[in-house]
């Protein structure tokens, strides 16, 4: 029986691609505050998907496939991570 799963897709820049937004948040907001223990910030994009599948594994497989096939991230500059975050009732 198919169930619904919440899947998080995080798209972020590769380390060698500069992230001026993350750098600004770190430099201006955090490094000057009492939270200067934060040593780095990278901004990423989060997509929350509700996926119908037989299992968590299948949901992850479907999303991994669609991220590659539909090029939800640009492999030259981004890396993409996928995490299934439980069932949706």
């Amino acid at each position: 029986m198919k169930e619904k799963f919440l899947v998080y897709v995080t798209i972020e820049g590769k380390p060698m691609a500069r992230d001026p937004e993350g750098e600004t948040i770190h430099r201006v907001l955090l490094a000057k505050s009492r939270y200067n223990m934060v040593k780095s910030v990278r901004v990423a994009k989060l997509l929350k998907m509700i996926v119908e599948a037989e299992s968590e594994d299948e949901a992850e497989r479907i999303v991994t496939e669609l991220c590659d096939n539909l090029r939800l991230y640009n492999p030259a500059a981004h890396k993409c991570s996928i995490k299934v975050n439980g069932r949706i009732k």
Binding site: K14, M16, A17, P20, T24, L70, N74, A76
Partner: protein, 237 residues
Amino acid sequence: MRIAVIRFPGSNCDLDTIEALSKIPNVEPHLIWHEDNELHKYDAIILPGGFSYGDYLRAGIIAAHSPIMKQVKNLAEKGMPILGICNGFQILIEANLLPGALLRNNSLKFICKWVRVRVETNRTPFTYTLNKGSFLRIPIAHNEGRYFIPKSELKDLYKYDQIVFRYVDELGKPSNKANPNGSIDNIAGICNREGNVVGMMPHPERASQSILSPYYTEDGKKIFESLINYMRMVSLC
């Protein structure tokens, strides 16, 4: 000569491009909707600037999946000259017709200004009649124009002569000061290995009439004229 200018939902430089092309003798520009499928009737294709699909997810990625892009890919493989301007460049990259990525400007600001670019190769239809090392004044207008490519692939761009334009200063040097958005090696435009597909961030259609230029130049027009001369040469061969 028939040139197709493709309009995507959110394109906004399509009519400017048509206007610039219409000033060139023997050119018949046509506005084509992105769901049409008659691109084979044309001699060249231009993907104009704008904000296709509101730049959602990533500039150019949704338009890269438009129905017409399958034909664009087919015709690119057959050697048809294809030019992507600004958002058109972003679409060509996201459609995997050109390598690399266009990231948000280092300044995190939308930049609209006249820049100076140096022609790095004249082996493309769009630079065919320009001298290598010559300079053009053309404006840019973008938020995501920082060209990025991993170092290993950058070497290939040089090896295969794929860098078409670089941002330069008044001395003709690709200095940091001349780099408006943080592009790697001041790259403003590239082509595929075959040279028929070109993408560039500056807008030649906005630099095609002297009345629109603070320098009274028409440097953008030279890019379109180059295409016409190239096509003429090809038809004579």
